[in-house]
Amino acid sequence: MSESAIRILVVSHGHPSQSLGGAEVASHNLHKGLNELDDVSSFYLARVGPPVPRHSASALMSLGHKENELLYYANDFNHFFLSNHNTDEVRQDLLRFVRELEPDIVHFHHVLGLGLETLYAVREALPEAAIVMTFHEFVPICAHDGQMVKTGNRRLCHAASPIDCNGCFPDIAPARFLRRERFVKAMLALADHYVVPSAFLAGRYAEWGIDPDRITVIENGLDVAEEAPARTLTGPRPRRSRFAFFGQLTPYKGVDVLLDAITRVPEEIWGEDARLMIFGSNLERQPEAYRKTVEELIERAGPRVRFYGAYQNAEMPHLMQSVDWVVMPSIWWENSPVVIQEAFFHRRPLISSNIGGMAEKIADRVNGLHFRVFSAEDLADRLVEALTEEGLWDRLRDGIPEPCSYRACARRHLDLYLDVLEKRQPAGEPASPDTVAQTA
């Protein structure tokens, strides 16, 4: 397979202009990056759903986007089995398009909303193409929003099994979890190769049963034009005292831990200049209990915290200008949050929980600080260190690695694609699923 005119279809479960998740951004950046490479053309297909109105005659639509981007309306999704019940439209609309496009590579960044059946349909329709799948979290493994955090007590989960999963969802029998596992694994086995943005995720999927030889770690690429300069320090005793949180205010992101930590920093250390800025939204969509907790904590934190609401990705450089430290208090494992890459790009050290992708990407005392996950006390100690330790911020800033640009990321993906196409089995035979379920 020569390099000339390799065609890629990138499939995402949402378009970044409509939904603000990291996976949407990453997949779209990949698509952009691929199109900037020679002899590569990429098409972007994103799922869309209500409240966007659909066409009646077809599930395909566009929203005034570019010519190489298309939306696919899907709304008949079974979350538990990751299954799309509208297989008629998959066959009719999606497949027709895919067959016409004739991509060499179909790269799925999610099957949420689209359903695992799309994998099957694409495999059937394009026996010669290679299918690559990127995992951005643990959705195939974990029915709790793909977070691998237990329900109820929010304890971290290390491994899935039908009986353990039934422990989190007592209404769902282990038999159903077994079926979910079998179905998801068998469908995923149709793909040729898997990409993950962190070694942590690679480890989890390999433990789950994906063949480790088919997993490649590629960091998500960033598309940021210019580094935001460091904040100008003013005042009599200038210090790096501006903390920021970026992200949705879901319970997994741990903003309650952060707010609690803020209130524990003694007044004399917090002083007048320190501030926590929260750039994020959707508190009103969270479960009531969590909302109340957060609202109480906000009260207690008083003037120490300020809310700046939702933000567009494009605003990041501007927002970063007023930020010294980025705090990531997530209570779930995190994979490779784009916020980390963005903070690194703008050379802001991070303070994060000590688990998962956060612990992998951020080196404690090298380019950031770790605190024990869940512990507001420990985070408070880190905040105190950040506010009091001389030269800490500069040292950490120096330790920040160069993040991956979206172009470099696309390049690495292309190398992978070519590799996979070479190894691809003859047309008509799907990748042997035996090798997938090693330890199943």
Binding site: T87, I163, A173, R180, L190, A440
Partner: protein, 729 residues
């Protein structure tokens, strides 16, 4: 000698006698001569072999100055049935035997009777009496009885009419009317009616005043009973011997005929007016308290009450009754179930149950002051087999015999249920480990289930999706009992496995549950390109039934059977099963190992263990970690499992599929494997192939499963323990 040389029908005098044949073994001979005693030895045709004893009636003739002053009629038993014509008869009178020559032409009995009526004159009554007695001697056969009827029709005077009759399920008939000479009390009657033979019966009756008879007669009411049930509708007349001779009471054309449920109340209404002996009143009283469709238990002034939870007719016509009987003073002698003409005593083998709710309900009832609050075993479960094979032919009710009184009755409303439904209903009240349950299994559930005769599950409707080939050499048959969910996942997995995606797949289950998912299955089979025949089955209660219905919908020679809760652990299972099956010539039922969702062993073959009488079947390794299977070799086992196996269709059909008499599927599957083994198809366990069988919701239905298991164990052991103790390996 008088010369009566007139019509032939007249009795000859002196030396000639008239002959008429009653039947092959009795002759009627009439003549005149000297007086004869009531019995005499006679000889026919001078042949000493014919010596017999005749019954004789004599009368004084009105003829004056004859040397044959007495007329007689003799009934002569005939010893042989030889057809030699009777020519003469000798009466062995003490002193001088008398010989008569018999008329050449034998008369018809009717002619003879008429002649006798003329001859005997006022003595005719006695003559008739004598003949009737003789004819009724011993156990008269129908022919004799019809002869008697014929004579009485001629001889009996009309005495009155029967105006009202009441039928009963017991077979006796209540009669009411008026008569002049009918005495009270018990008497023999001959009931004549319709086209049937007359019946010798007994009438027990009393009398009552009737104003409309103008003093000429009395009302009567009583019961007519005979050895066989009396056909009231056909009854035309009753003959009885009154003071003055035989009389006849005819059934009035416009008579009223009451049904069995109406008769008792009619008798009850009449009783106060009827005069008769204690015996008569007692008999009528019993009849007046028969079942008439009313509940007479709930109103008893005694501390006896009855409640029924349900009464059901099960598959083979047996009746199950579940309820409670509150009888603290032990006044109830027995409890009998009636269904039309059938009846069965229930209280000898019923199973009693604790019913504290009943004790509580009656705690404050003054009538039940003697109720001990500690004693709660008022409930009962009863089963009477084959009471109503084609539905009840008459009213269904319970009869409580009360030792110090008349019986009380309780109507039952029956529903038609399957044995399984009955057991499910009773389930809530039964602890499978209790002795109550054990008794119920032994006496009620076990026999009920064991005798199940209901028909085989059938494929009521089939629906093909894709190009389903019913003659393909191998078909995959999936059975669902309607409770397994997510059939769509199973279909997806079958589609993803290249070995199964091109197989004809039969998916069979109960119509109701498949109806709900039918369109989903169609969508998925279409999307995945599978060839599926959906079988909407009837009479499917478990997954074995479903498999059976599915098998009937395909003609493939080799069958891969699978229950819907089984999932493949990975692709390639089918080819390995098939290789093991074919390499042994298709003469085995081949089953893989089945694992639980946590990787422990769910099924690894069923093996016979123990010796002799104590031999049992055991499932090995259940719950053990799957590592136990490493290195295990294929092995012949006592039984494989229909939950997942490959087997030849011919072998399955030869043993007629699954045996019906079980409520659950575990023993049913075992039974099949043993039947196959006896017929030459042994079971093979193939440990190298592993399938997954996740436990369905453990809590729901656990209670049922335990009870059903015990019942099936009972039925299974009844069928197989002897065979197993002699079985090899």
């Amino acid at each position: 000698m008088n010369e009566h040389r007139t019509a032939d029908h007249r009795v000859q005098d002196g030396h000639r006698a008239m002959l008429a044949m009653v039947d092959d073994s009795l002759a009627l001979i009439a003549g005149a001569g000297d007086m004869m005693p009531a019995t005499l030895h006679v000889l026919l045709n001078g042949d000493p072999n014919t010596l017999s004893q005749a019954a004789i009636v004599s009368w004084r003739r009105t003829v004056q100055g004859s040397d044959a002053p007495y007329g007689f009629v003799a009934l002569v038993p005939l010893k042989s049935t030889s057809r030699t014509r009777l020519e003469s008869v000798v009466f062995r009178q003490p002193g001088q035997p008398v010989r008569y020559v018999l008329d050449e032409r034998a008369r018809s009995l009717d002619e003879a009777f008429r002649a006798l009526r003329e001859e005997a004159g006022p003595a005719y009554g006695a003559v008739v009496d004598g003949i009737v007695e003789a004819l009724l001697a011993g156990t008269p056969n129908p022919l004799r009885l019809s002869r008697v009827a014929a004579l009485l029709r001629l001889a009996a005077q009309g005495d009155g009419f029967i105006e009202v009759m009441g039928r009963s399920e017991e077979g006796d008939v209540f009669v009411q009317g008026w008569a002049t000479e009918l005495p009270r009390g018990r008497m023999r009657v001959i009931a004549v009616g319709g086209s049937g033979a007359p019946v010798l019966a007994e009438l027990t009756s009393g009398t009552f005043e009737r104003e409309d008879l103008g003093g000429g007669g009395q009302g009567f009411a009583g019961l007519v009973e005979a050895k066989e049930p009396v056909d009231a509708a056909a009854l035309r007349s009753l003959f009885f011997r009154g003071k003055e001779g035989w009389r006849c009471v005819r059934v009035y054309e416009q008579r009223v005929l009451r049904e069995p449920t109406e008769t008792p109340s009619h008798i009850r209404a009449m009783l106060p007016r009827i005069s008769g002996s204690a015996e008569v009143t007692a008999k009528l009283n019993v009849a007046a308290h028969r079942y008439d469709g009313q509940d007479t238990v709930s109103g008893l002034e005694k501390p006896v009450r009855l409640g029924i939870d349900f009464a059901a007719i099960v598959d083979d016509g047996g009746i199950v009754v579940s309820g409670w009987l509150l009888d603290p003073d032990r006044l109830v002698g027995s409890v009998t179930l009636h269904a039309g003409a059938q009846s069965a005593v229930l209280d000898e083998r019923w199973t009693r149950q604790a019913r504290p709710d009943v004790t509580r309900a009656f705690a404050d009832d003054a009538l039940f002051a003697s109720l001990n609050p500690q004693h709660n075993r008022h409930g009962f479960i009863a089963f009477a087999p084959r009471m109503a094979e084609h539905g009840a032919t008459g009213p269904v009710y319970l009869e409580l015999s009360l030792e110090d009184g008349l019986p009380a009755h309780y109507p039952l409303v029956t529903t038609r249920l399957t044995a399984r439904q009955v057991i499910e209903r009773l389930l809530a009240t039964l602890d499978p480990n209790s002795s109550t349950a054990l008794n119920a299994i032994e006496r009620q559930f076990g026999p009920m289930v064991q005798s199940l005769q209901r028909g085989k599950p059938v494929a009521a409707e089939t629906d093909d999706i894709g190009a389903f080939d019913e003659t393909a050499p191998l078909a995959l048959v999936i059975g669902t009992d309607g409770r397994a969910g997510d059939l769509d996942i199973l279909l997806a997995l079958l589609a993803l496995d290249p070995e199964t995606r091109n197989l004809p797949i039969v998916l069979a289950g109960p119509s109701e549950s498949l109806d709900e998912v039918g369109s989903e299955i169609r969508r998925l089979a279409g999307f995945y390109g599978l060839a599926v025949r959906v079988v909407y089955g009837e009479r499917i209660e478990d997954r074995c039934d479903a498999l059976e219905a599915g098998i009937s919908a395909t003609k493939s020679e080799t069958l891969a059977l699978m229950s819907a809760h089984i999932l493949p652990r990975g692709p390639g299972w089918l080819s390995r099963l098939e290789a093991a099956y074919r390499s042994r010539g298709g003469k085995y039922l081949v089953s893989p190992a089945i694992l639980f969702e946590d990787g422990s062993i769910r099924w690894a073959g069923i093996w016979l263990e123990g010796e002799g009488q104590g031999r049992t079947l055991a499932e090995r390794y259940v719950g053990y970690p799957r590592a136990v299977l490493d290195g295990a070799e294929p092995a012949e086992v006592t039984a494989g499992t229909p939950d997942c196996c490959m087997v030849s269709r011919a072998a399955f059909e030869e043993v007629e599929g699954f045996t019906r008499g079980y409520v659950g599927s575990a023993e049913k599957g075992l039974d099949l494997a043993l039947k196959l083994k006896l017929a030459g198809t042994a079971s093979l366990w193939l440990p190298e192939v592993e399938m997954l069988g996740a436990e369905e919701d453990i809590e729901a239905g656990a209670h049922w499963r335990r009870l059903a298991r015990r019942i099936d164990r009972w039925a299974f052991e009844r069928r197989w323990s002897l065979v197993m103790s002699n079985m090899g390996g």
